[in-house]
Symmetry: D2
Subunit: 107 residues, 4 copies
């Protein structure tokens, strides 16, 4: 399914629960940051090596997927409320980064 469909599904979800009043840019930015913090907490006591193998532990993998989903849902909802096209701004940012950080090898 596409990002546009996900965005629409979230819009309908919020409307059906009368949550649009809570979904201001300020509140959604807070929720996004809070979920990013929960994702962070899953990795905080792991060594880099343990974190790299996170998805081979089913319990941890389920938590990681859940937190990644939460971050993505709030990001998608925030972009929708602000009228920002996520994929478009992402590519525009990579365009700028390609100038800022020259490639050092073929890949």
């Amino acid at each position: 399914m596409s990002l546009a469909e996900l965005s629409t599904r979230l819009r309908v979800f919020a409307a059906a629960r009368d949550w649009e009043q809570f979904h201001t840019p300020k509140n959604l930015a807070m929720a996004l940051s809070g979920e990013a913090g929960e994702l962070l907490s899953l990795f905080q006591w792991l060594t880099p090596e343990q974190a790299t193998r996170a998805m081979s532990d089913p319990d941890l993998a389920a938590k990681v997927e859940d937190e990644i989903a939460d971050v993505f849902l709030y990001l998608t909802r925030l972009a929708d409320v602000l009228g920002v096209d996520l994929v478009e701004v992402a590519h525009a940012k990579i365009d700028r980064n390609e100038t800022r950080f020259p490639r050092i090898k073929d890949a």
Copy 2:
């Protein structure tokens, strides 16, 4: 463009700069959270009403788009490194949320 294409573009971007060594799950979760914090800081002193009108101020709009892009880029990269399908886990999470939070009206 699709999410899969964005993910591939980021993978090539990292490889061409020899950055794969830095793109561990732990480091990417930190970068994601740091960018979410920068996005947050754009809204922190605004009233809810000012934050809602953020995109009508061209300077602020450009900063918001830039930070949203950064959050999305690190989230996409983290999901790729972990082998997580962003759209799939997002829909699975909404499925669970539909059970947890019953709709209160038609929408």
Copy 3:
């Protein structure tokens, strides 16, 4: 009790649990940010007015105190591990801010 005593108590607490191996600057900065995110989440759906009255709700007040404590504990521990004097750097920062942001009225 003083900040120095708190710092010492945390050092002893970590040593008695063999947690010093986990208390690297990187991990503690992650834990600090994660706890700041949990504190944030307590306020995210509240209006500014509701957030201002947070401490008059005993359940919410207990949660706020708990998250503020967690942020402070990780900040104190991080400062100790890095050899940073919290109160000293705080005053140095206010000194700089007093130059950056001139006062507009007597207070």
Copy 4:
């Protein structure tokens, strides 16, 4: 200098700039989390070993001290606005943690 003096200094600083209107619990929690994210970003691409030696690099040390100060200032200000005694809630939390996490060796 004590925490109480720091708290008072910040209160006077805010009043002299007419910033009390911005220093709501919600906004201060956002500012705190944003600064925690900036602190995080200083460590994100470092190996655990590099992060442990952060303070031996004068430029990085100055940035770390600056971000730690910012986190502490917003935490102190938030606690003051909410009427929370930082040191008291910190010790109360360690009391609870001592029960939750038994010591495994003398220290």
